[in-house]
Amino acid sequence: MLWLWVLVGVLALLVVFLVWGYNRLVRLRNEADTGWANIDVQLQRRADLIPNLVEAVRGYAAHERGVFEEVTKARVALRDAGSPGAAAEANDVLSAALGRLFAVAEAYPDLQASENFLRLQEDLTDTEDKISAARRYYNATVMRFNTAIQSIPWLLVARPLGFRDKEFFSAEGDVSAPEVSFSTAT
């Protein structure tokens, strides 16, 4: 009879281990999801600032239409980005477009001096800092989650249980980034 009890004991331990491990994976996934939500809030905030900024610059430099279009397009692309990697990419495109917008604004001292413009510029810088802070946290949580589901024994059960690798919020390291296509530019 002894072996039966040993068997029961081992099985019980196994169940405890599995429950603990599963809960840990869920916890890690939730951490990463929260991390993503943090980035999303800041990206949203950044996107919300842009129409005001474009309006402010347009008031002084109405003829610089190319730059406005570029910024607006980049903003829409960021809003429609479906995955963290794509969002990071779109965010970088937006940063570049904003860089050109601010370069245009340099030429208008009145604009540079306007309270509204300065405030918007400050808010944008702040949002960018916050995005990079949120990125650090999110990427750290993704790293922990991915490591957890890629290590033995969780490697064997993670996929069937619906745990998939998460994407980092970074444009450079993203292999699956879509090829830039010039054919759509008419």
């Binding site: 702040d126 949120a134 650090r136 949580t141």
Partner: protein, 333 residues
């Protein structure tokens, strides 16, 4: 260890601390009841529980008063507030802790509050005038790591219980000294009781200090992780090491809260038990903390600190004597 696991480990530790202190408390009250009088023992216990509850409820404002940390208006020191927000986001805190400023020339900072949502971070004006942005951010990250790790909770509990035990031991000691003993208690028991009354507060203090020292290393590591920049934290610690201003409102009861121990000088001047060794220090020596960061991050600090302008200058905070400049920030004459 992931963040959540660390937090849970800390909660467990808090539980053990609370349990240990409750045990110590009951034993003390038992001694009082046995050696002196049963009703006195019960009264002491009730008093201790009430004292503890009030202290826990009032801890937030009490710490603010002891440290002279002033809340800021909505538009004051916005760049600093933003820095704190960014660090909190980097730490994954759901809410940014409130920012408070201590008008003091010594560079230092602390965190307090029982729950992350209700906690606050205090920085001295001296810190703002000493640290460039990168290092100031590291100090803020250190404090935010304390909040995130629930150290503030653990340490508040430990402080309150240490205080309660000191009070009970004092009651027992005094009653024994002035009131005499009752009934059956023999000489040996009384002697043991006296020893217990004398040692209990030190045991509580020792536990509190040892807890707080381990937390400092963890918070340093947490800050390095939050910013992804262990060197910034090490640089900040080195700058604190080189600074010799001591804080005006140094107080043994809040010493464990600060990023750098504010009471070293105070304690070394005190004769008796406290001066003996590092046993009762709330913080490990700064050199050891810098070394731990250097090892973890795989770098060596440069001989000279970077000569970047302090954040106060970058923010356009008025120069001059700490209190007068601060008064103008606070909108006071």
């Amino acid at each position: 260890m992931t963040l959540q696991e660390q937090i849970r480990a800390n909660r467990l530790r808090s539980g053990i601390v609370v349990f240990g202190f409750v045990l110590l408390l009951v034993v003390l009250a038992g001694i009082v009841g046995y050696v002196l009088d049963v009703s006195l023992g019960i009264a002491a216990l009730i008093f201790a529980v009430l004292y503890g509850l009030i202290a826990i409820v009032r801890s937030r404002s009490m710490i603010a008063r002891l440290t002279h940390a002033e809340p800021l208006g909505p538009d004051e020191l916005r760049p600093l507030r933003r820095l704190l927000e960014n660090v909190s986001i980097g730490a994954g805190l759901p809410v940014t802790p409130e920012l408070r400023v201590v008008d003091d020339a010594a560079p230092n900072a602390f965190a307090a509050g029982l729950r992350p949502e209700r906690s606050y971070v205090g920085v001295t004006t001296g810190l703002l005038r000493t640290m460039p942005k990168r290092e100031l951010e590291a100090v803020l990250a250190h404090e935010v790591a304390h909040v995130r790790n629930r150290d503030t909770y653990l340490m508040t509990m430990a402080t309150v219980f240490a205080g309660v035990i000191a009070v009970i031991a004092d009651i027992g000691f005094r009653s024994l000294a002035y009131g005499g003993r009752s009934r059956k208690a023999g000489v040996l028991v009384v002697v043991l009781a006296v020893i217990g009354f004398v040692l209990a507060p030190y045991a509580a203090l020792l536990l509190r200090m040892s807890l707080s020292r381990r937390r400092e290393y963890l918070a340093d590591a947490g800050a390095a992780e939050i910013l992804n920049d262990p060197e910034a934290m090490a640089l900040a610690l080195r700058r604190l090491e080189l600074d010799s201003t001591s804080i005006r409102y140094a107080d043994a009861s809040t010493a464990h809260l600060w990023v750098e121990s504010p009471t070293d000088r105070v304690e070394s001047e005190r004769p008796g038990v406290l001066a003996i060794s590092g046993l009762f220090n709330t913080h490990p020596p700064l050199g050891a903390r810098i070394e731990a960061l250097e090892q973890a991050g795989g770098f060596r600090l440069p001989e000279r600190l970077p000569a970047d302008p302090p954040f106060a200058a970058e923010m356009g905070m008025p120069a001059g004597s700490a209190s007068r400049a601060f008064g103008s920030i606070m909108g006071e004459p």
